[in-house]
């Protein structure tokens, strides 16, 4: 009965419907979000619609490759190709409309349970050594083939774990991380390294916070998670399809099962991402997280499917030139904006940066005798402005830069109070923003590095409520 029912299922039809559904879900979400929050995609989150559509086009191709490989009916192949053509057209139009200025955000660190892995690896390593030298497995199991299989499996299993543990051991020895088991708790506050309001709460409260309609972050989080849920759903559907395909066609059992595990892993990975995004990441980080992390898995899946396709291609004695031309054009069209980015780098920018670097090096030389820490702070609208100073000033020890609005944040910072030098982008910033007697004590002993010089704060004789910078040294 069951056998008959799954044999009736038209795989390619379900495939096509799945991708239609996925496409509609993404586009409608984006559309709704664009209407309710204008500029969301381009300015606030940096999510580009054209990126999404281009990726969708690629997923269509992935399905095409996998349909080819799984020896399923290719009845809907044409539909998929036409569908991908429409997507490319949409991608091109969206590319014309959108700007490419994306904001940048800091990443949170993600650590696995160090102790658990450590113990597990020691246990497995001992077992592995025992199995080799005392031929323990052969005593239990007479089959030598299975013994070999178990040994290879263990070797494969141990390799990444031991590598990971070796690195963590190195960090532990250098006092970089103190291994504390991070146990997930529903009621207790465990994620201490979290940043925004939601992260300060236990998980139970975070969920309540997450769905609060007045919460400005929740709408973004829901949006990002919806994309991940969509991907998780598509993984789930495809996993079921491959399972049915495996039942129908047992010839491709090995690859069928592999793809099935692959997709099941995709569901688990999506779930992990959602869990982490709800509990750990702020909105800014979500953009980077969703955009980059989920794609790692998808890229692996697509590349694996492509490798399978290449095998198929390799076996074909004659290939259809038309299909090659079509696919080449398709990929070129999708990648036009990306290929433009591959143009040779600008020499002028390079020379200007080199000048800056010489200037930074001079500052570094001038500050070598300073025993106190140097506090780095820069206000800039430039991309990666504040952080770039630290990069240039290697290897001088500098306290981590701060890029939030410094009016309130900076004066509370204990590191700033002990610092001797402050880096600024322009003189006007300090004289215009900080002309206040209340901060006299804070600025009293500090020196400011602005443009090509080292300055100190001097109060005007006529108006003591304002001050200016006096040049000490020109670099």
């Amino acid at each position: 009965m069951l056998k008959k029912s799954y044999q009736k299922i038209n795989l390619s039809k379900i495939f096509a419907y799945c991708f239609y559904g996925f496409f509609l879900l993404i586009i409608s979400t984006c559309f709704l979000e664009t209407i309710t929050h204008p500029g969301l995609f381009l300015n606030k989150t940096g999510i580009s619609l054209s990126d999404l559509t281009a990726r969708l086009g690629l997923i269509c191709l992935l399905s095409y490759f996998q349909l080819c490989f799984s020896k399923s009916s290719l009845k809907y192949q044409k539909t998929l190709i036409i569908f991908s053509l429409v997507i490319i057209f949409v991608t091109l139009i969206l590319n014309l409309i959108e700007s490419s200025n994306y904001p940048n955000f800091v990443f949170s660190k993600f650590h696995l349970n160090y102790f658990a892995l450590n113990t597990l690896s020691y246990f497995l390593f001992t077992f592995f050594i025992l199995s080799i030298f005392s031929n323990l497995i052969s005593k239990i199991n007479i089959n030598p083939v299975l013994n070999k299989k178990i040994i290879i499996s263990l070797l494969l299993f141990l390799t990444p774990i031991l590598s990971y543990v070796s690195w963590n051991q190195h960090l532990y020895k250098n006092n970089i991380i103190i291994p504390e088991p991070k146990i997930f708790s529903f009621t207790e506050k465990k994620f201490t390294f979290l940043e925004d309001e939601s992260k300060k709460q236990p998980f139970k409260d975070q969920i309540t916070w997450f769905f609060k309609p007045t919460n400005q972050y929740s709408i973004y989080k829901i949006f990002f998670n919806l994309i991940t849920v969509s991907l998780g759903t598509i993984f789930c559907f495809t996993a079921i399809l491959f399972y049915i395909n495996w039942l129908q066609n047992k010839k491709s059992i090995k690859i069928g099962i592999t793809l099935l595990i692959f997709y099941l892993g995709g569901i688990a990975y999506s779930a992990l991402i959602i869990l982490i995004s709800v509990t750990m990441f702020s909105v800014g980080e979500l953009k980077a997280f969703q955009g980059r992390y989920i794609l790692t898995y998808i890229l692996a899946m697509i590349m694996f499917s492509l490798y399978l396709f290449l095998i198929k291609l390799n076996k074909q004695k004659k290939i259809n030139l038309l299909s090659i031309i079509y696919l080449s054009i398709l990929f070129f069209l999708i990648n036009i904006p990306n290929l433009i980015n591959l143009k040779p780098a600008d020499k002028k920018i390079f020379l200007n940066r080199k000048k800056d670097e010489i200037f930074y090096q001079k500052i570094e030389e001038g500050l070598k005798n300073s025993n106190k820490p140097i506090f780095l702070h820069v206000i800039t609208t430039e991309n990666a402005g504040p952080i770039s100073y630290r990069y240039f000033l290697v290897p001088v020890q500098i306290i981590s830069p701060i890029w939030q609005d410094w009016d309130t944040f900076m004066f509370k910072n204990p590191a700033f109070k002990t610092a001797t030098h402050v880096f600024l982008l322009s003189k006007t910033t300090i004289t215009n923003k900080w002309s206040d007697l209340q901060i006299d004590k804070i600025f009293k002993d500090k020196k400011f590095v602005v443009n090509n010089g080292l300055y100190r704060v001097v109060y005007k004789t006529d108006d003591k409520s304002s001050f200016q910078l006096e040049l000490i040294n020109q670099f």
Partner: protein, 289 residues
């Protein structure tokens, strides 16, 4: 000059492994990279990163000597392949387009290039006290390879980091071209195009940045490719193991992908792999006797 020195070292490694394991050169290039990363990683942990680099140079000289000693046995058909052509073309383009390229994005300033710069200046891993990297817990596989590429340079040259990253990616995607024969140029052309463009579609900055998310995906797929598509001989087993180490040490999340790959392979080994595995074949023969 730095490019020339490093490419020579990698070429010697690759030709040697190609000759030793009887494999096409595009398969051994990525193997050589994994070996170099592993050597430098061990040396880095032992705080002798600098010596590690010179040890690799010494190894390359030994390999060169061994190759010259048996140059008559070297098979040209293993070296003159489509994969090598793909690597030469893409690396040349990479060197040209990245000549004046500079870091512009936040995370590269914050970590990826900063870590390499610290390693270059201090000649030790970025976990040392002298380093001003904030994210010291991030594993170092890719930064180690950048350090390897930068080491012979007189100054810290940012373009070399981009080139090394590109070379790593190109060597990964060039490897599957080894399945094509000489008369299959159309298929190779199409495959090369796809292999180059698909990562770019998903990661717009994959060839112009030092982010490793795309690289992790490629290594993950590469492990599965080696297991499922290539004949499972000893060389491929070593490649899988080295790739697993590199994947784990690429980023904190690398272990998730490494374990996913391991689970997929183990399930296949235990339940479905009956004939292809050479190790198992050998044991079968023994058991028959």
């Amino acid at each position: 000059m730095a490019n020339l020195i490093i490419l020579t070292i990698i070429s010697i490694f690759s030709v040697f492994f190609s000759h030793f394991f009887k494999k096409k050169i595009e398969e051994t290039v990525v193997f050589s990279i994994f070996v170099i990363i592993l050597i430098l990683y061990i040396c880095g942990i032992l705080s002798i990163l600098n010596i590690g680099w010179y040890f690799i140079c010494l190894l390359s000289l030994i390999f060169l000597f061994l190759l010259l000693h048996s140059y008559k046995k070297i098979k040209p058909k293993l070296l003159l392949t489509y994969g090598l052509g793909f690597l030469v073309i893409t690396t040349t383009i990479s060197i040209i387009i990245h000549k004046y390229r500079l870091v512009t994005s936040f995370d590269e300033f914050n970590y990826w290039f900063l870590a390499v710069k610290n390693m270059y200046v201090n000649n030790e891993l970025f976990t040392s006290i002298n380093s001003n990297v904030s994210a010291k817990s991030c594993p170092p596989a890719s930064t180690i390879f950048h350090y390897f590429w930068l080491k012979p340079s007189k100054d810290f040259d940012e373009s070399l980091v981009f080139i090394s990253m590109n070379f790593f990616i190109f060597s990964l995607i060039a490897s599957p071209l080894s399945i094509f024969k000489k008369n299959q140029w159309k298929q190779t052309l199409m495959a090369g195009l796809f292999l180059f463009l698909i990562p770019l579609t998903l990661y717009n900055y994959i060839y112009t940045g030092a982010y490793v998310d795309g690289l992790m995906g490629l290594i993950f797929a590469y492990i599965l490719y080696i297991y499922f598509i290539k004949k499972n001989d000893k060389f491929n087993l070593y490649t899988i193991l080295l790739a697993l180490i590199t994947l784990t040490l690429t980023k904190n999340t690398g272990i998730i992908f490494a374990m996913a790959a391991v689970i997929i392979i183990i399930i296949n080994i235990l339940f479905f792999d009956k004939h292809k595995n050479n190790f198992i074949k050998k044991t079968k023969k023994i058991s028959k006797k």
